[in-house]
């Protein structure tokens, strides 16, 4: 293990960032400080790479199943895919009562993709970063959902959809009315607007930050457990047991978080479609 404990942790929490270096040239940041100095116009190459890669895994597997799909006796892959599709379809139908062909595929994509990204958390924390270091890549965060950029990007995309469908279903005026005339009588419109506005803004924030927070905390605990491996035989054993226990527990968390993200997306979009009478 190179450097101090703090450096070790810091290393694990730094993204591989591509952007404009302080000297004006473009390249990968050599440290967390350098990455921070790049400002908004930089990109977390590792997060994006893993996210796209895992998204492609999802797209490829499901496309393969969809292509070979037969109404006859299904094979192994088709069974698994069908199970997920049916699960998402049932969930969507129970929450979302309107007609919209986007919602169910959106929920499926979110559920499977977020699950796959979360799943990377179960890969022992040092394997891939160490390997990357050996081939000359300084930083490598393999769990995209521990990067707030990734989770917030998805949450904001859902937010855009919420606004879009709200205006589409209720009209611009109707949407404004909903924000202003509720929950108090119309005379208190400004207060209503502030309250409803906060509620609205809270949706993408809670959606993105919940996923980020859970996964970030989980990753942090894996890193802290990994620290124990270098502290003697007893700690090594204890750490091994802890890692196993936390990993088992984490299987639940990553599935649950993926499911929560998908279900809340459906719920928010269902609310956007509901034309309420006041």
């Amino acid at each position: 293990m190179a450097g101090t404990t703090a450096e070790y942790i810091q290393h694990h929490l730094t993204n591989l960032t591509f952007g404009q270096l302080p000297d004006g040239s473009w390249g990968f940041a050599g440290s967390a400080e350098e990455a921070a100095s790049m400002g908004f116009w930089s990109i977390n190459v590792d997060s994006m790479g893993w996210a796209i890669g895992l998204g492609l895994v999802f797209a490829f597997l499901f496309r393969k199943a969809a292509k070979n799909a037969t109404a006859g006796v299904p094979g192994g892959l088709q069974n698994g895919v069908e199970m997920l599709v049916e699960f998402i379809e049932e969930t969507t139908n129970s929450i979302f009562q309107h007609k919209n062909d986007l919602i169910a595929p959106l929920a499926l994509t979110i559920f499977v993709w977020v699950f796959l990204m979360n799943l990377m958390d179960l890969v022992p924390v040092d394997w891939i970063p160490k390997f990357a270091e050996l081939i000359g890549i300084p930083y490598m965060k393999i769990v995209p959902t521990t990067d707030p950029n990734i989770t917030m990007a998805m949450a904001l995309t859902v937010f855009v959809l919420i606004i879009y469908y709200s205006i589409k279903c209720k009209g611009g005026i109707g949407f404004l009315k909903e924000l202003c005339f509720h929950p108090f009588p119309p005379i208190m419109a400004p207060i209503n607007f502030i309250l409803e506005g906060v509620t609205l803004i809270a949706k993408p924030l809670s959606l993105g930050l919940r996923l980020f927070g859970n996964l970030y905390a989980g990753e942090m605990i894996f890193i802290l457990i990994a620290l124990m491996f270098g502290a003697g035989a007893v700690y090594f054993l204890f750490g091994g047991v802890l890692q196993w226990v936390w990993a088992v527990f984490h299987v639940l968390i990553i599935t649950l978080q993926a499911f929560i993200f998908a279900v809340l997306t459906i719920v928010y979009l269902a609310q956007a479609h509901d034309v309420e009478e006041h």
Binding site: F40, S47, M48, A51, A66, P105, L106
Partner: protein, 156 residues
């Protein structure tokens, strides 16, 4: 941990994957699953129908069998009656025929007997006459004793 253009990149990626899923993954899978549901439902319906048909056929066959049994029993009964009747008739015929034969035989026997009696009577009367003639050589006047001879012949 900084908010960067990754946000934009991930948003675009997200949109692309959702679009792909909506266009190429969801519809074929759901369509196929509906088809399978239909096929299974149709299969179940068909098997139910077949079951019903089978039950119908079984009860029909049972009824047919019972009918056939009844018919057979009736035919056997009829045949037995007819056989009994025939036997009775044959017996009657045989009895009548026997009686007739016996009657005929008896009549023939009577006839035969009478004929024999006649013949014997004639022979005896001639024997008696010749015997008496020999015994009474010349003394017997045929005309004188004709009465007695005739009585004798009648007695024989």
């Amino acid at each position: 941990m900084n908010i960067t253009a990754t946000l934009i990149g991930q948003s675009l990626t997200f949109v692309v994957f959702v679009w792909f899923c909506m266009k190429y993954i969801w519809p074929p899978l759901v369509t196929m699953m509906r088809e399978r549901q239909e096929a299974i439902a149709a299969g179940l319906r068909a098997s139910e129908e077949a079951d019903k048909k089978l039950a119908d056929a079984a009860s029909g066959a049972e009824a047919e069998l019972a009918k056939a049994k009844d018919e057979a029993a009736a035919i056997i009964e009829q045949a037995r009656n007819r056989a009994n009747q025939m036997v009775e008739e044959a017996k009657d015929d045989a009895r009548q025929e026997g009686e007739r034969l016996i009657e005929a035989a008896r009549a023939e026997i009577d006839q035969e007997m009478n004929r024999a009696k006649e013949a014997l009577r004639a022979q005896v009367s001639s024997l008696v006459i010749s015997g008496a003639e020999q015994v009474l050589e010349g003394s017997v006047d045929a005309s004188k004793h004709e009465d007695m001879l005739n009585r004798l012949a009648a007695e024989l």
